[in-house]
Symmetry: C2
Subunit: 165 residues, 2 copies
């Protein structure tokens, strides 16, 4: 399984913006990047109303997929949340690294977006903290985080084991 | 792998409407139904502009997934079309039956939506034809097709082999 890094912090703390910046930076360094979002509040919209795939889901299909020469998508109804490891095992095996947004309860290594030391304590939860980023972070911060993460990735490869000891 | 049935016919021949009607009927009979669409013209839109997952794809992520307790979705960039069997193997193993829309080149058993005997010949392509449906089909047609398909499914189970001999 590729290494998974959780981006955690209060809502409206620019986690999404940090995810985007990290994805861009990791892509610029030639990595295959996966992005995973945890949506805790029941259902979410991902398809566009009126499209065929939307119609098939509406008609009751349990799994809907669409495939093209450049992209494919799968939407699956489930009864209960799928574990982050199971998702990564099934869908991210071809990624070099996965950034996970919203998995606050996970014990994976994490980057905390924080405004205060109190925030940091709330979101540390006994996990390995790769970086702490201010909500008003800049591009330098992003480059530094990626250096740190990639350093850990190299250690990870050399040691031949995952982030979690 | 679950049995896969292709719905083929000219464009604007109500294939989508037949897919929807078959999904509803198969669901009403208690089956887990998969729906697969082939999109031949390059890229397609499936996410909603401005959503976090959309932003992560836009930032360059090769794979984007979103998970909730009731549904999850995966969108993956690929270089070249994925084979229908590979998609079904990976994503539809928990379906009882898969209806595939747009896979005209596939050699799977098929239902042809046709207005003329000429249409039928064009879309037969040497494949097993489970049913031919007029473009102005009715609910009776749908019930009949499902009876036929489920009969074949039972044979399939009894014979212990797939539709394709």
């Amino acid at each position: 399984m590729p290494p998974v890094i959780c981006i955690v912090g209060k809502s409206k703390s620019n986690k999404t913006m940090l995810m985007e910046a990290l994805i861009k930076e990791l892509k610029a360094r030639g990595l295959k990047v996966g992005a995973l979002k945890y949506h805790k509040h029941g259902d979410f919209e991902i398809d566009i109303e009126g499209k065929d795939t939307w119609k098939y889901a509406k008609a009751g299909a349990d799994t809907v997929a669409i495939s093209s020469p450049v992209k494919y998508a799968v939407i699956k109804k489930v009864k209960g949340e799928i574990d982050i490891d199971e998702i990564c095992d099934k869908y991210f095996m071809d990624s070099d690294i996965v950034l996970a947004d919203g998995y606050t309860q996970s014990d994976k290594p994490r980057i905390i977006v924080a405004e205060s030391s109190e925030d940091i304590e709330i979101f540390r939860r006994g996990c390995e903290v790769l970086a702490v980023v201010r909500t008003g972070f800049g591009l330098d911060d992003v480059g530094g985080i990626v250096n740190r993460v990639l350093g850990d990735l190299n250690n990870f490869k050399m040691r031949g084991k995952g982030f979690d000891p």
